[in-house]
């Protein structure tokens, strides 16, 4: 008999967020529509949940309020292999990452006008999506994982479309929905094949399973699963939707999509490839379809590595001459996903730690970048790179903040973006062998990506604007037209980006030990 209260306390962060979502909808029904209130609820809830997660991770000053029953964190794989969920340090780290995204987007959206239709819906859906994301991070069962992803997906379909009168957002939602649904089909089909092959959908059980009767089912199943999940991660060529959706969606939603929900796909990758890659299992010979025996583990690495290189290269190439800032950021987001895939392809704990930091860095920088885009759009400045000319001189703080985000994305030192890439590529080199070439590909790509980031910097700082001086709605919002919430969110991100760029040690240690626990889950 399950102790219900104990269960609730185990899932305290999820419960807090879900309760906040209900509260937001309730307030809407009650007619409390002030954005500050709903945004406050949303931000406070995510901050509270974040506190619990950090506490559960055992980080020093917060560990006093830890709610996770002892023994549940990083428990034995045997116990995880019979459960729907399992608490891993890495999962908690990811929860931390997700909640940061939710918090930042909530904070920034506080500046949104209360009169705007659907504003409470926005926060409700944001929190609902966050609940799904949190569940992804504790999933132990493939079906649990897919359903958690589905919660997020459905919430975000609606989130994109919440501004119901906007043609562009509806088109974005339509594309997002169709490709998302197709991917769901592929994932579930893959899951069903794996279920057939192993008789279970528990990922730990699959990872620990002895030889399977049907290698063919396993490989085909994983192929479908990979294709289905690649949608979320925006792996090339499963990426095409992302650009249109990030472009068409409201700016804050884009921030949340690129900075937040995309990352659940990556954690899903970690879980799904726990067996084939991370545990270096299945070094035994596979011979499906009479192909002759081969070692499945390196083949999986090869697939992931190839997709990683493809993704980062195509993402960068496509971004090169992009004229619209949002689409440029979208392509950049795709290429960044390529770097993160490297971590999974390698599968060592350093690589996972590096990828995790890269994911966190990307959450910060990409969220920040889209928030700045939103702020600039709110100032009445157009979406093209050319429209941004001279912005850095007119609004130095906004300019410097955006420059920091871009330099971080480009991997220039003293930003967290550099540290994460440094650790990730170091891990690739540390793994030796042909992973060094993954590092080389990544490094060259990140160096080439400087081109399009620097192009924006050039426009912002070295060129003069030719637009009329006064922004239309300056003064309507606080913080010099940005709104206090948005300004605060951008400032927080900028500070953290630099702070972690200078002193990443403690955070990296947490991620490293989490990654170590994660890959040591196997026997």
């Amino acid at each position: 008999m399950v102790d219900f209260v104990a269960l609730l306390s185990t899932f305290l962060p999820e419960v807090v967020i879900a309760a906040a979502a209900l509260l937001v909808f309730l307030l809407d029904v009650l007619g409390v529509r002030r954005t500050e209130v709903t945004a406050g609820v949303s931000a406070a809830a995510s901050l509270l949940a974040l506190l619990f997660v950090v506490a559960d991770l055992g980080i020093a000053p917060f560990s006093a309020v830890a709610t996770l029953p002892s023994g549940l964190l990083d428990s034995s794989p045997a116990s995880a292999s019979t459960s729907l969920y399992a608490f891993t340090s890495l999962g908690l780290v990811f929860q931390m990452i997700f909640l940061s995204a939710t918090f930042l987007v909530s904070l920034a959206s506080a500046s949104r006008p209360s009169a705007e239709p659907g504003a409470p819906t926005f926060f409700g859906l944001l929190l609902l999506a966050s609940v799904g994301m949190l569940f992804v991070a504790v999933a132990a069962d493939l079906i649990f994982l897919l359903l958690a992803i589905e919660i997020t997906s459905v919430s975000t379909y609606l989130l994109v479309a919440y501004r119901r009168r906007d043609r562009r957002t509806i088109e974005a939602a339509m594309k997002f929905y169709i490709i998302g649904a197709l991917s769901t089909v592929l994932s579930f089909f893959g899951a069903s094949l794996l279920f057939g092959a192993f008789g279970t959908t528990n990922l730990y059980a699959i990872a620990l399973a002895p030889a399977t009767p049907s290698a063919a089912l396993v490989l085909v199943g994983y192929a479908f699963l990979l294709a289905g999940l690649a949608f979320k991660v925006t792996v090339v060529p499963f990426h095409a939707w992302a650009v249109d959706v990030y472009d068409g969606a409201p700016d804050d939603v884009s921030a949340f999509l690129a900075g937040g929900t995309k990352k659940i796909g990556l954690f899903a990758f970690f879980l799904v490839f726990l067996g084939p890659v991370l545990l270096a299992r299945w070094a035994t010979s596979f011979s499906p379809f009479g192909l002759g025996p081969f070692n499945a583990h390196p083949v999986f690495q090869l697939v992931l590595g190839a997709l990683a290189v493809l993704t980062m290269t195509f993402g960068n190439l496509l971004a090169l001459w992009q004229k619209e800032i949002k689409r440029m950021l979208a392509y950049s987001s795709i290429s960044q996903a390529g770097y993160m895939l490297i971590g999974i392809a390698i599968g060592t704990s350093p690589a996972i730690a590096g990828a995790t930091l890269q994911i966190f860095a990307h959450v910060l920088m990409k969220t920040g970048a889209f928030l700045v885009v939103g702020a600039v759009a709110a100032l009445g400045i157009g979406p093209l790179v050319d429209d941004w000319r001279g912005l850095g001189q007119e609004r130095p703080y906004l300019g410097v903040a955006f420059a920091l985000m871009l330099l971080g994305l480009a991997g220039i030192p003293l930003t967290v973006g550099f540290v994460s890439k440094f650790v990730l590529f170091s891990a690739a080199i540390q793994a030796e062998g042909y992973f060094v070439w993954l590092a080389v590909a990544g490094v060259l790509n990140s160096a080439a990506s400087v081109f399009y980031y620097a192009r924006v910097l050039k426009a912002m700082f070295f060129e003069r604007s030719d637009r009329p001086a006064a922004p239309s709605n300056a003064g309507r919002l606080g913080a010099n037209g940005l709104g206090y919430g948005r300004a605060a969110a951008i400032a927080i991100i900028a500070v953290v980006v630099v702070l972690l760029g200078i002193y990443p040690g403690p955070l990296l240690s947490v991620m490293q030990s989490a990654a170590q626990h994660f890959v040591l889950l196997g026997p």
């Binding site: 030192p413 060259l444 160096a447 081109f451 050039k458 700082f461």
Partner: protein, 489 residues
């Protein structure tokens, strides 16, 4: 060694830079004070305990404390600084150039705060590069030089500055990351988990020759672009032509030296096997750079472009001196880097002054400037003569050592750089003939005024080392010899 003078130096530069950014029009005083403090600190380094205390063949020593910065089971990054003779001489160069640039651009009125701040940041990065003893720290400073220079070129530069800034940034950044990958491969393939220089220098030379060679290629490319080595040099002329004068001075005087320093400290000392294995390639690149830089310079009409190509030529000689892998060669390479630093600094200053004074740098449309601007003419003369290797000026002992070492290593191949010296003389003489001699041409109608005081003072700061160390190179040689090159075969 009780006083962490290196950290103090870096900190003072950082504080100065930060203060400059917010100081607005008073930034120049902040910058001057910072530069003077920096000079004093450099002097302290020379006078301090550790100049002579170095043992030959040792890892550079410096601030006693090292701080653990990133500590993972598989990756340790330290904050560790140290200097030896090579670093000291190049830090001295940084001090001279920094002071000269700040004085020269005293009247910069276009956003002086960021201007002086970025210059101080460049100095900070350079000192960091010359003293970092950890791969990551080295790379951080390396890039920390790049970003300010990007803004200096892009914001204060000439008409095509945006293009030049972008090209500079991307070109050198690509090279930097390739270099970083090479160093990381070295760390991890040598079974080390620490990025510390001492760990690296102890283990890396024992790696298999194939690994060393591959890494050396990466490093050669990484550092070679900074040099710049032909054919990876085309960013340089554009960057120089478009950069503001102060930017050009630092670019040629300092940034190119980072490549040379890197190749010595982080290249051939770490992978001697790979270096020797691929030495023919280095020779070819060196000869190519020497010849190409000089011959192309002959065809230039823009004064800055001409000096830029002559830099390629001179840095080619540095590369050659490194390629000969002898103690004399390395000594000469470092000495030549110092020499080229101050000389090209001076030459870019005079190019800048020619531009402000006459409104053009086109050699074909200028002439006979001596009567109107005798000081400028004298400086052009000193710069050109020093650059073409006139004895008693600072380049001569360095070039002499470099070419002598070349002869010892490869005998008559030395004739290639030697004969190119004639071409080098030819283009400098051509430049002097166009500018200084002949009837006045292309001068402003009301007659040009000779240079303002601060431009003169900036140049004077550089003439001091040009003459002093030209007459007494032994002062520098004694310092440089306190370094691993003494133990170099």
């Amino acid at each position: 060694m009780g006083i962490p003078i290196l950290s103090i130096t870096l900190a003072s530069l950082a504080v100065g830079a930060a203060a400059s950014f917010v100081a607005g029009s008073r930034a120049r005083w902040v910058a001057l004070a910072t530069a003077l403090v920096f000079v004093a600190e450099t002097a302290a380094m020379f006078l301090g305990a550790w100049g002579p205390a170095l043992a030959p063949g040792q890892v550079p020593v410096g601030d006693a404390e090292t701080y653990r910065w990133i500590s993972l089971p598989w990756l340790q990054v330290n904050y560790a600084l140290g200097v030896d003779g090579i670093s000291l001489v190049l830090i001295l160069l940084t001090a001279f150039l920094g002071l000269a640039t700040i004085v020269y651009s005293w009247n910069e009125s276009h956003r002086p705060g960021p201007w002086f701040g970025l210059i101080l940041l460049t100095l900070l990065g350079s000192v960091g590069v010359f003293s970092a003893l950890d791969v990551l720290l080295f790379f951080l400073f390396w890039e920390a030089v790049l970003v300010p220079m990007f803004f200096i070129i892009g914001y204060w530069g000439g008409p095509r500055r945006r293009y030049a800034a972008l090209k500079f940034f991307i070109y050198t950044h690509v090279a930097s990351v390739v270099m970083l990958v090479g160093l990381l491969v070295l760390v991890f393939y040598s079974g080390s988990t620490s990025l510390d220089y001492s760990a690296l220098v102890a283990r890396a030379p024992a790696l298999p020759i194939v690994t060393q060679s591959v890494v050396f290629l990466a490093l050669l490319f990484g550092f070679g672009v900074k040099f710049p080595v032909v054919p990876f040099h085309t960013w340089l002329p554009d960057a120089h032509v478009e950069a503001p004068t102060g930017g050009s001075v630092l670019l040629a005087g300092l940034l190119l030296k980072l490549g040379g320093y890197g190749l010595i400290r982080w290249g051939i000392l770490l992978v001697p096997g790979g270096f020797l294995h691929l030495d023919p390639i280095v020779y070819v690149l060196a000869f190519l750079s020497i010849a190409w830089g000089s011959v192309v310079a002959l065809a230039q009409r823009d004064m800055k472009r001409l000096v830029a190509y002559s830099s390629i030529n001179h840095m080619g000689i540095v590369l050659l001196a490194i390629a000969v892998h002898s103690s004399l060669g390395l000594l000469a390479a470092v000495l030549l880097m110092f020499a080229h630093g101050v000389v090209s600094g001076l030459l870019f200053m005079v190019s800048g002054s020619v531009h402000h004074t006459f409104g053009t740098r086109d050699l074909a449309s200028l002439g006979g400037i001596t009567p109107g601007t005798p000081f400028l003419a004298t400086m052009i003369m000193i710069g050109s003569l020093a650059s073409l290797g006139l004895p008693a000026l600072v380049s001569f002992p360095a070039e002499f050592g470099a070419l002598l070492a070349t002869y010892v290593a490869v005998s008559y191949w030395v004739l290639i750089p030697l004969l190119i010296l004639v071409v080098t003389a030819a283009f400098y003489l051509w430049m002097m003939q166009r500018l200084l001699f002949g009837p006045p041409r292309g001068l402003p109608a009301e007659g040009a005024h000779d240079l303002p005081f601060f431009e003169r003072a900036g140049m004077a700061v550089l003439v001091v080392p040009i003459v002093l160390f030209g007459i007494l190179p032994g002062l520098l040689v004694t310092v440089i010899a306190n370094s691993p090159i003494r133990g170099y075969p």
